[in-house]
């Protein structure tokens, strides 16, 4: 029974971690103020 409980704790922790990570997601950021280029840049 204790082994089952330990396994359940491990499984729940893994699920919780992944759910939290995906819920936080990746930052959206803001639209770049840089223009759409109409001249040839000298370097990248």
């Amino acid at each position: 029974m204790r082994a089952l409980a330990a396994a359940a704790v491990g499984l729940a922790a893994a699920l919780a971690l992944v759910l939290v990570l995906t819920a936080i997601g990746t930052p959206g950021g803001e639209t770049s103020p840089k223009p759409l280029l109409t001249t040839v840049p000298a370097h990248p």
Binding site: R2, L4, L17, G29, T31, T38, P41
Partner: protein, 341 residues
């Protein structure tokens, strides 16, 4: 004490083993996404090239034509579209600016490309366009999906405003990366004139009124990193002609632009460097972490079982005696047996 340790190890073994598939099949599709705020530039060159001289309506050789492409993520537009699309969306406002050797504008074509941030699948929303013309993309453009497959994809051609297959032609090595090589040929097709023409007074409408039409063909080649789906090199053998009408009487035709367009070497270097850094992050989610967690889980499970086995050695053995003397060891041993598969 040993029993507690084995239970803790078991919990960690299950934690890491469960994390392995969760990371690959749950977290990866939700975390690996094109950022909506991306800003990227690219310069391609055709050396030499053929350009039309609108004064004489004749083709002339020039040493170089540069094509500057800018991709700019429009965060406000993607936020707005996401509300109705129900998924993460990226909106790229792009400009393809073609310049002659003196830097004068030859043509400018703006686009709005809307797509799913993970799968690269096109998303159809108001504002999707090429050079002001509303379009409905069926295929990918600019970038392939993460974990690109060895198969043909539908690729959107901005000149013809249609999608056509881009064929997988094998695996190549490019700057130390194993890449997939794709090729697409667009046969001679009548296409619209760019809204922005290089000569004042000449508009697409005025050219069309004279009955002159624009035709185009291209062979498009991409070398794509299959992990990130990002092209690390691109090339186009591109030809455009103006045909017929009052400008070219008697069914005449003239080359408007022709050249073998290749990525400028410094942009190839910076793109390869960017892709190499990004592919590590993708591999972390799809390979390194899932396999690492799986191995770690197996090792922890082995340690847990070993500890448990040592705690259950028969009396007479010193360690078993110690374990048996621990208050929680007796009943727990039976429980582990009954709880084990």
């Amino acid at each position: 004490m040993r029993r507690k340790a084995s239970l803790v190890l078991l919990a960690f073994a299950v934690f890491f083993t469960a994390l392995s598939p969760l990371m690959r099949w749950y977290a990866f599709p939700r975390l690996a996404k094109i950022p909506p705020s991306q800003y990227q530039t690219m310069v391609l060159e055709a050396k030499p090239a053929t350009l039309i001289d609108y004064g004489t309506m004749k083709a002339k050789k020039v040493p170089k034509v540069s094509i500057v492409e800018t991709l700019k993520g429009n965060v406000a537009a993607s936020d707005r579209i996401e509300k109705t699309a129900g998924r993460d969306v990226v909106v790229w406002d792009t400009l393809t600016h073609v310049a002659d050797p003196e830097g004068k504008m030859v043509s400018q074509i703006p686009e709005r490309y809307i797509f799913d941030a993970h799968s690269q699948e096109p998303v159809h929303a108001t504002g999707e366009m090429v050079d002001g013309d509303q379009v409905r993309r069926d295929g990918i453009e600019y970038k392939w999906p993460f974990l690109t497959e060895k198969r043909d994809y539908a690729y959107f051609d901005a000149q013809t405003r249609t999608s056509a297959p881009i064929h997988y032609r094998g695996t190549r090595t490019f700057h130390g990366l194993e890449v997939y090589y794709f090729e697409q040929t667009i046969p001679w097709t009548k296409v619209p004139l760019p809204k922005k023409m290089p000569v004042k007074g000449i508009t697409p409408e005025s050219v069309e009124k004279m009955g002159t039409t624009r035709w185009y063909t291209t062979k498009r080649m991409f070398w794509v990193d299959p992990v990130t789906g990002a092209p690390v090199n691109g090339e186009e053998v591109h030809k455009e002609e103006l045909r017929g009408g009052q400008l070219l009487p008697g069914g005449g035709k003239v080359t408007a632009f022709a050249g073998d367009v290749k990525m400028r070497p410094d942009y190839v270097e910076s793109t390869v460097a960017l892709v190499k850094s990004q592919r590590t992050l993708v591999l972390l989610l799809t390979s390194y972490l899932p396999w690492g967690f799986l191995v770690l889980g197996a090792v922890l499970l082995a340690f847990s079982l070993r500890l448990e086995a040592r705690s259950r050695r028969p009396r007479g053995d010193g360690e078993a005696h110690d374990a048996a003397s621990a208050p929680e060891s007796g009943p727990g041993t039976r429980e582990i047996v009954s709880g084990s598969p």
